[in-house]
Amino acid sequence: MEKSFEDYPSNQLGWVIFVQSINKMADLQFLTDTVQQVRRDILRMVHKVNSGHPGGSLGCAEFFVTLFNEVMERKDGFSMDGKEEDLFFLSNGHISPVFYATLARAGYFEVSELNTFRLLDSRLQGHPTTHEGLPGVRVASGSLGQGLSVAVGAALAKKLNNDPKLIYVLMGDGELQEGQNWEAMMFAAAKKVDNLIATVDLNGKQIDGTTEEVLSLGDVKQKFEAFGWTTFTLKEGNHIPALLTQLQEAKAACGKGKPVAILMQTEMGNGVDFMMHTHAWHGKAPNDEQLEAALAQNPETLGDY
């Protein structure tokens, strides 16, 4: 499959109409509308409780919306077992706002529940958890570096169950500094866990600065390949058609004896101009004025919660 989208500018508004994997303009419009609404949800959630992680959440909004609405083969409702459906794990649990907003907008629970984010007695904990029974969450995360292992386990269970569906997992790039990831990487290649697509949010940023400043990851693609993974680099990680093409390509690469990874270059804080090109908004909520400015850049589409 050729990467035809890399040639196009990643301007959010200048989408190409003809996309192999989306045949109806309506789908594209729905996705772009959902992304915009999810951005509003993220911003409003973290603003309300003056805590949480908008930066990484915004940077992954296109990915989440595309994955859940156009790529994953999901069943109605939610069961922990997730048999006969694709499953998603969020390893970098701090970007829970985009996860929750995507789940709510995909019907896992009422969008009004987004209002309870990080409040006492909420199912929408600061970091995702199964402990409160929130539909869509299959493991707790927040302590970094654990999600890939869990995803590998879920993938092995699918194989044991002769379940042909896939496992998706998202990790942060700073998160790759945790050694457990490399244990899981080595295992997945050695044991041919090829029903697994791991995506890395390669935004080049973490809490204390750029990944380069904090602890350079070096050449991530080279590392993944050296660890035996089929590895794609997606330059336009905030571009829905590019995401779609890439995810379909990754899907097609499954079942060939190797685990599959997508290194997804994103912009932290994407869609809110003053939150982009900085790591400052990794874990900081906007104040009232900042919220207003940010929302103005992302008008309501599907209706606020």
């Binding site: 922990m80 077992d81 997730g82 048999k83 499953l87 958890t129 199964t130 402990h131 299959r138 493991v139 707790a140 995360s141 927040g142 302590s143 654990q146 999600g147 890939l148 292992s149 869990v150 995803a151 590998v152 386990g153 879920a154 993938a155 092995l156 269970a157 699918k158 044991l160 169950n161 379940d163 050694g179 457990q180 244990e183 899981a184 080595m186 295992f187 050695a190 044991k191």
Partner: protein, 318 residues
């Protein structure tokens, strides 16, 4: 006289291996994982019979715990196997988040617990694992006393929904419980009734407690011996009922006196019925190389140590 007889010494880890092999036949959801210690964990029989239900993880215990958590999501009941140190301290945060807090049905099976693994020395002799695992909300912590009970416990935990820590050992020790005794999680067992002092023991120290009680009987001291195979949830009732009768207690465990069974019992007592207690446990030191019996003697974990502590606590009884 010790009311139990040694049916022939066996290692408790072989009880685990036997239980796991049995589960292989009876429960198709049981899967096993190991981190490059198949032989030490006695997993060979299970693996031979069910190669497709076994996962060799290599020397990567953190990954093993995560994979186990993930396997539960597809309805599996994973039994992880490695040494006790690498089953707990090495992977505490992984167990905490991916298993305990996530409520995953993983059975963490740990061999070579305590001093008695012997010659490998302190880096392998964890004396804190009971404390580590008991602090995790939702975790069940079991330390059976012999081959038969370890086998029974292994089989029993497969039917218990929720994370379990099962601790057992390396050396051959007396096998004295009945091979058809049912294993009930959380129910302590009175092995010998007595009225002068309560001895609450777990794991390898249960046999030592029985031997100590036999020796004490000859000194006209009537000790009650309780096998507290489950440290969490702790059978408070059996302990409180016993001390209501005896008025003093000795706890015995192959563990640091900090954080383990002894402190759990002290808490139950101080919260319900303050009672003189003495501790048979290691004294906040690391272990070292030696034979199991040398180490038990040097670190005060044998029947002699139990007798000493019984005498001490009897003096404190008013």
């Amino acid at each position: 006289m010790n009311p139990y007889t040694n049916q022939g010494s066996q290692d408790t880890r072989s009880g685990f291996g036997a239980g796991l092999a049995e589960l292989g036949k009876t429960n198709p959801n049981v899967v096993a994982l190991c981190a490059d210690l198949i032989g030490s964990l006695k997993m060979d029989d299970f693996i031979e019979a069910h190669p497709e239900r076994f996962f060799q993880i290599g020397i990567a215990e953190a990954n093993m715990m995560g994979i186990a958590a993930g396997l539960t999501i597809g309805g599996k009941i994973p039994f992880t196997g490695t040494f006790a140190n690498f089953s707990t301290g090495r992977v505490y945060d992984q167990i905490r988040q991916s298993i305990a807090y996530s409520g995953k049905n993983v059975k963490i099976c740990a061999s070579h617990a305590g001093l008695t693994l012997g010659e490998d020395g302190a880096t392998h002799q964890i004396l804190e694992d009971i404390g580590l695992m008991k602090m995790l909300p939702g975790m069940t912590v079991i330390n059976p006393c012999d081959f038969n009970q370890t086998k029974a416990a292994t089989i029993a935990i497969a039917d218990h929904i929720g994370p379990v820590y099962l601790r057992f050992g390396r050396p051959k020790v007396p096998n004295f419980t009945s091979s058809d005794a049912p294993f009930e999680i959380g129910k302590g067992l009175i092995l010998k009734k007595g009225k002068d002092v309560t001895i609450v023991a777990t794991g390898h120290l249960v046999w030592e407690a029985l031997e100590a009680a036999a020796a004490l009987a000859e000194q006209s001291i009537d000790a009650e011996v309780i096998n507290i195979h489950t440290i969490k949830p702790l059978d408070n009732d059996i302990i409180l009922k016993s001390v209501a009768k005896t008025g003093c207690i000795v706890t015995a465990e192959e563990h640091n006196f900090l954080g383990g069974l002894g402190e759990s019992v002290a808490r139950v007592l101080s919260e319900n019925a303050p009672t003189p207690q003495e501790f048979v446990a290691t004294n906040d030191t690391f272990g070292e190389s030696g034979t199991p019996s040398q180490l038990m003697a040097k670190y005060g974990l044998d029947q002699t140590a139990i007798q000493l502590k019984v005498h001490k606590v009897l003096e404190r009884k008013i």
